[in-house]
Symmetry: C2
Subunit: 193 residues, 2 copies
C-alpha cells in the first residue's frame, strides 16, 4: 500500500452516493507534505517522458500541479471555468460535464499559454467519469500540442473515466485507484498496481 | 526594485479600466520559481510571527499559499466560492463583493478546517478593493482563530483595500504595491517600501 492509499484509509471518508471525501488533506485543507510526495511520485512515474508544461484545472488541481512543476522546473497552466472580465484573449474552449454540479461547464486556456511546440503533462486530483481530463486533452489537441501523459492522485476505478482514457491510448498514471468502497463500513478497496 | 516588481515590469500588461494583466506568470500560467520566491519573501517578512495554517481563496491564491506553507511546514486551507454537493459540513460563510464579476459571492470554509486555536496567515495574489481579504478575515474571526497577518503578492495601491486593512490594524505585507499605471504608455509606478 502506497503513501496516498494509506492517507486515504486514515483520513478519507466514504459517503453515500459514491463520494470519497478527502477535503481534510487534498481539496479544501491541503496537506503540503502529501502534495510534495504526490509530485515526487509523478516525477518517478513520468521519468521516461519529457514535458515543458503542466496543465491542470482550477481549483484543487493547482497545488498538485505546483509540486510536479517545481520538481521539473516548468510552468503550470491552469484551465479556468467560465469567463472573466480580465480574460479578453482568444481562448481554447472545451466542454466538461460536471456530475457534481449536473451541468456542462466551459473550461478554457488563453491561447498564448498552450503552444503547438508544448509537451504537456496533465495532472488533477480526481479522475472519475473523466470529463475534466477529456476536456483538458481537448484543449491540448486544439493547440496542436503534444500530450505526454495524465497524472491523477485518486482514480475512482468503478467509474469509467480511467478505462476510457486507457482505451484511447493515453498514458495514465493514478497513484491510488479505488475499486470499491462502502459507506456503511467505510471499507475501501484499492486496485493492485 | 524587488524581484516581483521587476517581473511585473517585464511581463505584466497594463490594460484600460485599471487592469494589470499578469496571467502569463501569476494567475493563469504560473511561473513556479516566482511562486517559490514569493513564498521565501513571505517567510522573511513574517519571520517574527508564528502561524500554523495558511488561508487563501481559490483559485489563484493556491499556488502562492502552497510555497509559504511548504517552507513553514503547515497546511493550506483554501476558501471556496459557492456550494458543492460534496461539501455538506457546517461552514463559516462570508460575503465578498467581486468588482470583476459585479456581484456578491459567498465564500466558505468547512468548520473543521478553522479552529479557535489556529494562528492564521492569509495570503492572496491580488489586493485591490480588499473584499476577498475582508471576507477571509471574517471567516477567521467567525472561527475564533487568530489572524497573524495578510501577505499579498500585488497590491493595487490606488484602490482602497490596503489602506483600509492597515487602518484596521492588520499586519499587511504586499511584495509589490502599484501606485499608478498608465494603459497608454504601460508605465507602472511602484510604492517605495
Amino acid at each position: 500500500m502506497n503513501f496516498l492509499e494509506q492517507k486515504i484509509l486514515a483520513d478519507g471518508v466514504v459517503k453515500p452516493g459514491n463520494v470519497l471525501k478527502v477535503d481534510s488533506f487534498l481539496n479544501h485543507q491541503i496537506d503540503i507534505r502529501l502534495m510534495q510526495k504526490i509530485g515526487e511520485e509523478f516525477k518517478r512515474r513520468f521519468a521516461d517522458v519529457q514535458f515543458n508544461k503542466v496543465l491542470t484545472i482550477e481549483a484543487s488541481g493547482i497545488a498538485i500541479a505546483a509540486f510536479i512543476a517545481y520538481l521539473n522546473d516548468v510552468p503550470v497552466v491552469f484551465a479556468k471555468k467560465g469567463q472573466t472580465v480580465n480574460s479578453t484573449d482568444d481562448k481554447y474552449v472545451a466542454k466538461a460535464y460536471s456530475f457534481t454540479h449536473k451541468k456542462f461547464n466551459d473550461i478554457f486556456v488563453s491561447r498564448p499559454y498552450l503552444k503547438p511546440t508544448d509537451k504537456i503533462l496533465i495532472v488533477d486530483d480526481f479522475l472519475a467519469d473523466g470529463e475534466a481530463s477529456k476536456a483538458l486533452i481537448d484543449l491540448v489537441k486544439q493547440a496542436g500540442a503534444e500530450l505526454v501523459g495524465v497524472g491523477i492522485a485518486i482514480e475512482k476505478g468503478m467509474q469509467p473515466g480511467g478505462a476510457k482514457l486507457r482505451a484511447a491510448g493515453v498514458r495514465l498514471e493514478s497513484i491510488a485507484i479505488v475499486d470499491s468502497m462502502d459507506p456503511e463500513t467505510g471499507f475501501i478497496k484499492f486496485r493492485e498496481q
